[in-house]
Symmetry: C2
């Protein structure tokens, strides 16, 4: 069964996944770009833009992990683009040019129907109205692989509250934003059955993996917490 995984979702010290006043010029909101600075120098991130070089440290390992065994993606509509309401035409095809870095089917959540859009490199955007439908269709497409839930914050919040996220990697970035889209406000992670599974400092962020509590095993009371 395909697992639903969040990777490399950056939040500020005060918990925001995007800054205030998102716009086409600032899709991550005011100050939101700083959330992702830890990622930009990594080898995996640079390779996505067809660039060589880059760091290969803990930060890079966490970016890379987000592409392991992923057979489908799910994105909130705002991550796909700035257009709200019905689609005026088929012109908008995402922020990423002709050959987006997904290379799988990508299920975009929207209440407004639209035909699938096939891109270069194996990415196909498919439009779905409901988080459960999207997950079902993505699971079918992913087969034996997993599904990556890309974001944004409100999409992740919906899947968390429905108890459908299997694993979530959050990168805490050294920035305060003061307002914007909060990732975890009002979400009772322990009540939903989640715990901190990994906690690992990188060069530019602290990495946290939250996952569902595993049933206790008779051979060990040891907590699988990675720290250093």
């Amino acid at each position: 069964m395909a697992r639903l995984r969040v990777h490399a979702f950056s939040i500020s010290i005060d918990g925001y996944g995007a800054g205030p006043r998102q716009s086409r010029a600032e899709p991550l909101g005011v100050g939101g770009e700083a959330l992702h600075e830890w990622m930009f120098p990594t080898r995996t991130f640079l390779a996505m833009g067809k660039k060589g070089g880059g760091t290969t440290d803990v930060d890079d390992a966490f970016v890379r992990r987000g592409f392991d065994a992923i057979g489908a993606w799910i994105l909130g509509r705002n991550m796909f683009g700035p257009i709200r309401g019905p689609w005026p035409d088929d012109a908008w095809k995402g922020w990423w040019g002709d050959d987006p870095p997904y290379h799988t089917p990508v299920y975009v959540l929207t209440h407004h129907p639209r035909k699938p859009v096939a891109m270069k490199g194996g990415t196909e955007f498919r439009f779905v109205g409901d988080i459960h439908q999207a997950l079902q269709q993505a699971a079918r497409a992913a087969g034996s692989q997993d599904i990556r839930l890309g974001g944004g914050a409100s999409t992740i919040r919906q899947y968390l509250q429905a108890g459908l996220v299997d694993e979530m990697h959050v990168a805490i970035a050294p920035v305060v934003l003061g307002s914007g889209e909060h990732l975890l406000a009002g979400i009772d992670l322990p009540g939903l059955g989640y715990e901190v599974r990994e906690f690992m400092p990188g060069s530019g962020a602290t990495h946290v993996v939250v996952a569902r509590k595993q049933p206790p095993r008779s051979d060990s009371g040891h907590r699988a917490l990675t720290t250093r």
Copy 2:
């Protein structure tokens, strides 16, 4: 002029400074103890309990820094004790026994008057009704030294919102609490003039220092952000 400093205030990944349902048996709320586990093995923490040994790493350095040049403390009433409303008598003298780890005047915020209580080792608890009065009196007592704002979360929030905190060290601990007292919800740190000054992983927590933005200096556009 004495500065108002917060040190070693632990928060969870989801931003809580204490767990839900605080009580005399669980003064940090349910699950709140886990917030402070990073501190327990440090040399400075053990020395406060008159114990030897302990770690001397980054975590310890941050605990130790919280006692440098401190001439007075301010505590919220809940940090002082579990009693609410008027003081029934003078029996409650804090959680810390005869010789509390402060060794300075300690201003306890309460709307209910009470006479000062002198303890062993130079600690004296003094009771004040207002955050501004407490700060004024603490500044006078501290002289050329600084004032440490001990907590809890709601007390720190009041001083932050009034723009009175000069520096705040927060330790992000590898735990999710789901509910409780949130430290930063609804507080616009950048709007209040704060920025992230230091960001440093320790063995058991990630340390963040937030401080007022310094005026730009003509000799450098360099950002004084410590990271590794």
